[in-house]
Symmetry: D2
Subunit: 380 residues, 4 copies
């Protein structure tokens, strides 16, 4: 619970019945950093206005759509300090750009944009605006992920040789359910874009690899498969990559891995040690020094790095889960808005790098696994 | 996020720097059911008043002590709907009683009282008041604990024969740290009362056994040990018990089990199946039907019982942890205040039964493990 | 594979179709220490003689019964070096005694005897004979159990405060199968003696506690239950105990713990660390130094104690299982016969202490959990 | 323990101090199917002869080298029924071929040959001879691996879409130990051939994928890395593949994955379910039916397929480990020699397919991950 006066927060999207709305509201409000001050919560203006007021917004700040909200908030002295963009993917670019240009800090859901070009534009707009543009790669805000990154940064693994990550589940593995609209759209280019499972889940794993290794993907080679034949986009992918610093990367993602519920894990192997973290047991980090015994590092134990300590709320071995990882993004945002250095926040550069990786992987997979440069042109 | 207007919530205790204050505020506010409206947060009136205002309380509802808060809130039309009592243990009885008598709903931290007699009085006062008196046995609000209870209630295990539970950690296992005041008081009768580890942790396990089995402890036999000799109260205890319905119970609790971080688990064995739940992996329930294979029941899977569904926020295999178990207590409280039947809420009866079990175990341990009636006299 | 000439080995019991016969033959022969030289394998003389010859015994050493084998072997120059007694429980005493008195080394299946008095007699006979009398507490021969004992002996845990062990399965949890003769006899005093599950499985756990702690049980208090009402003997038991050196002990054993397949584990907590070993993952030992991180000690890693190294055959992380734990007993027997000090071998003293614990626990459970001296009179 | 007269077994290689010698002797002798009858155990004739006699071989069957053993055994009426070839890799081809041509059954250590051409020749020689030529892919003889294969064969997973397997350890991850001769040779083409880690460990995983899926690798694309720069051959590899039936395959193998002790696991995903098996917990198979809960299939439970039952020795949840997986190969060999159909035995075709996969992966990795036909020409 913050002891300074609360920051004002607004949200676009996340209407009644969505899962993403409650997740962001819990995240923003859990630790008392933000007050919910404005919103345009539904694509149906009246529905959104009414719902916002039920959630406690003042009538004049429960807007009918994002353009109305943009002009309304711009005109106020007590304008919101942060806006969360949780609308359908194809609208992220336009809304994020407009709010940044108007001088608002933005948290954008992933994917930040649909194309690399749009992403590059956001990077430039954000830079020019001097405002925060964060992307919700919320897994990176788990305390023990931050611990992992700090260990790498502090040289505890030596030079990182190899990173291996998986994000594989089986929830789209039932072919008899493949026409279910809730599932089908993800494999339909008209709705999902150029990539299915890699863009949906794999990209979290790729971000995590860069995040923990504190390095960026340089080249990649991909193998995509549609194991359910009716699918146009891939439901299983393997991506090999190399990072700028030479680290070898391996990433497997699947949505047909029946029995894996949420199999997101990452292993990092360096000259002097190895690490393992898994999202289904997020409060432990498994560490092995070269030549030594495997150890369990527990969230809350003594001597953790600052980020890992700061983003944990309860004592050792009391688990904290996914909703509070989202809340940790908001903790960092509150601090950053107040002027702290929170370089753990995934930014627009991370957003465009992901988009470039998706497009490059699609191209590589079509070209028999050719090794291609995966960087946005602005980062080459 | 609730869509009705928010309930008003107040808190006594939980001042700046405490761990319990943020935990309750997160719990109460995370899902949008409550607005933080009043508080008496510190035993130093000025400090508490100032801190409350920093947390956003109006000046006239940031009180100097609980008596001031009681009279202040009683006098208001818009009085709080719920007060949380998170003060030192010895004060729980007095405050809880006073607020119940004044017609407030109360959530009391455990232990509800220090003696059985006080506990019996709270039961009577609560009954007479018609108000809710809940006790914060928050582990019972994990979704998969609710699933376990529902499975037992619906006969999925048949008659329950046996329940085995442990709550053992090693955080007080360092004799060189035994004089640390943060540790020592727990083993000092002047401060902790009649029991150390059993009253501190074991009682959560005993409540859990009753809660899942939907039955009550009738008799018990205890073996206590102070494995660090300087301790007057036990740091390790084994309690065998029998429930009203004949179920055999076994409970081990320890604070010197070096290597166990938070080893709270429970196993329930019935005529037609067995269950296992562990607080370090709270989102899974392990189930074995007699003669069949062991299965993993996942939070968020299809077909769970209503309580387990309702108290989960995110999709299958996205972990939810301890702070949201506390939040679940508040979800149930909000619903109960609004008139829903939420019989999963631990109540004053649970509070006094725990106290009776503690006092009976102490007596049994002194008497060489004699089997004694563990029920408060009002429930015999 | 030994490189000295093989020792000669004989077996009583373990006829065709038994599980125990192949287990002992594999154990004795796996590492090449013994040659199978004599046997009386079946209670039906002709059947046993024929089966022994099929297994490769010479006709004159495939005996009809144990008395014939005793006189036959006594008369030979090339008499067997070791005899294994794997007959029904009630006959162990008589056969073991006779072979010891005739100057043979004996490996007796557990229980060594049915009464404490018989057990005490075996201790005396063994001592007088100067021969080895081992009892097949084979779990104690897992490499990582030996590592645990060596760590305790070498003070790596400091003084041991607490030992907690479970041996609980659910294979007798189906009441509809309770009359199955294969199950029923275990709970029938006419066939099983004074105790059911505690004598059958619990006693392995009690032996393990003494073995690893390098100490002996002094007093105990027991709680027995027949959770399936038709059973005369207990199918679930809790035994609290104190060791000679003051260590507190807790032992739970059950045969109705549905879902536990073979839940034999042990935790040892000392002043400066804790250990955990489980029979379902026998190749790892979990160790936590006080104030430090939990570590995994792997069979085959560098720096293990001599016993743990010697009794492992394959490289790190290649699992070795139960049959080779039995084989390890035979490795130690071969070495001991050849004059090595193999004090890890469970001996007649261990056998009679177990029997005394069983009888004491039965008495204590009948007497409401009274604390009783659990030592055989010769060890008081 | 077999009840028929024993088969006669001989061994080439596996001299004193080797690890492979005791492993094969235990495997061959554990279950009583074979008697150790002949051997040429050391490349130093006198040493081998002497050692063989110490192990109990008759002087005239403890040979100085394999050519002497070949002519000696050919000349005998009571010639050996099976010879195991456990010599250095480069000699496997010559010895295996010679014994097959002379009419002996052979168990050859992996790799069966160094080149694909040699492998194809062995296939032809074996076929012509009518004798058994088995290759020691012993992981495939674990009971629960056999269960997995039987489940696939019986359609329990539907059509297999995807197989994902890893064989990764960190035992060569210490760069300061890279010049240790015991490690270095594996990455030196002069000694190891064309491939390092993939040929050493990855090939077990590739065989396992084919074995369980009951299908063969058709094409592959590889990415190799030498993460320790001084290494000429790869210490980390990713191989994507497609099977004849269309199954997508993914295989990661590494020797620098610090913290993984022996990380060999496999996941198989089909239309109607998924399976997971791991060599460090070999006695369980994890199974999830589509839309259902994850289940644990235990070695020894009722209703397993015949192969899984037959190759298990002790009751449910008593672990059996690696040495007995080798013994299972010998069980199958004994049965096959006696005329049973034991099609689980890895044969010469499996041996040459592995070799073709190694050479193809090397070529693909050099060619930027090009997709290449991985089949030996005789199987195209």
């Amino acid at each position: 619970m913050a002891t300074m006066s609360k920051l004002k927060w607004g949200m676009i999207g996340g209407g009644e019945g969505s899962q993403i709305g409650p997740a962001h509201r819990l995240g923003a409000l859990a630790d008392g950093h933000f007050a919910f001050a404005a919103g345009a919560l539904d694509h149906r203006p009246d529905v959104g206005r009414e719902y916002g007021q039920r959630l406690g917004l003042d009538a004049d700040r429960s807007y009918g759509d994002w353009t109305e909200m943009l002009s309304g908030e711009k005109a106020r002295e007590d304008r919101i300090d942060l806006v969360t963009v949780a609308t359908p993917n194809a609208t992220h670019f336009e809304i994020t750009k407009a709010f940044l240009e108007a001088g608002f800090n933005v948290l954008c859901e992933k994917p930040m944009t649909m194309t690399v070009e749009e992403g590059e534009e956001i990077v430039k707009v954000a830079e020019k605006s001097g405002k925060i543009c964060a992307v919700n790669y919320c897994y990176s805000a788990y305390p023990m992920v931050r611990q992992a990154r700090a260990m790498v940064r502090n040289g505890e693994l030596g030079k990182v040789r190899l990173v291996v990550t998986n994000f594989s589940h089986g929830h789209h593995g039932d072919a008899t359910d493949a026409d279910n609209p809730r599932v089908r759209w993800r494999y339909d280019p008209a709705m999902a874009g150029v990539s299915g499972q890699f863009a949906d889940c794999g990209i979290h794993a790729l971000h995590m690899a860069s995040f923990i290794c504190d390095d960026e993907v340089k080249t990649l080679s991909a193998d995509f498969a549609s194991t359910i034949p009716s699918r146009e986009l891939e439901d299983d992918a393997m991506v090999n990559f190399r990072m700028e610093g030479g680290t070898v990367g391996r990433l497997w993602t699947s949505s047909v891995a029946i029995g894996r519920q949420h199999g997101f894990d990452i292993q990092v192997f360096g000259e002097t040690g190895g690490l393992r973290w898994a999202s289904e047991q997020p409060n432990q980090l498994i560490y092995t020094p070269v030549g030594g015994r495997t150890q369990v590092i527990e969230k809350g134990e003594g001597g953790l790095y600052e980020d890992a300590q700061r983003l944990s709320r309860v004592a050792i071995a009391h688990p904290e889960g996914f909703p509070l990882a989202v809340a940790n993004i908001y903790c960092d945002l509150a601090d950053a808005i107040r002027g702290e250095n929170r370089d753990g926040l995934p930014n627009a550069a991370a957003g465009v790098r992901s988009m470039a990786a998706v497009h490059t992987a699609v191209e590589s997979a079509k070209d028999g696994g050719a090794w291609l440069d995966a960087r946005p042109s602005i980062f080459r």
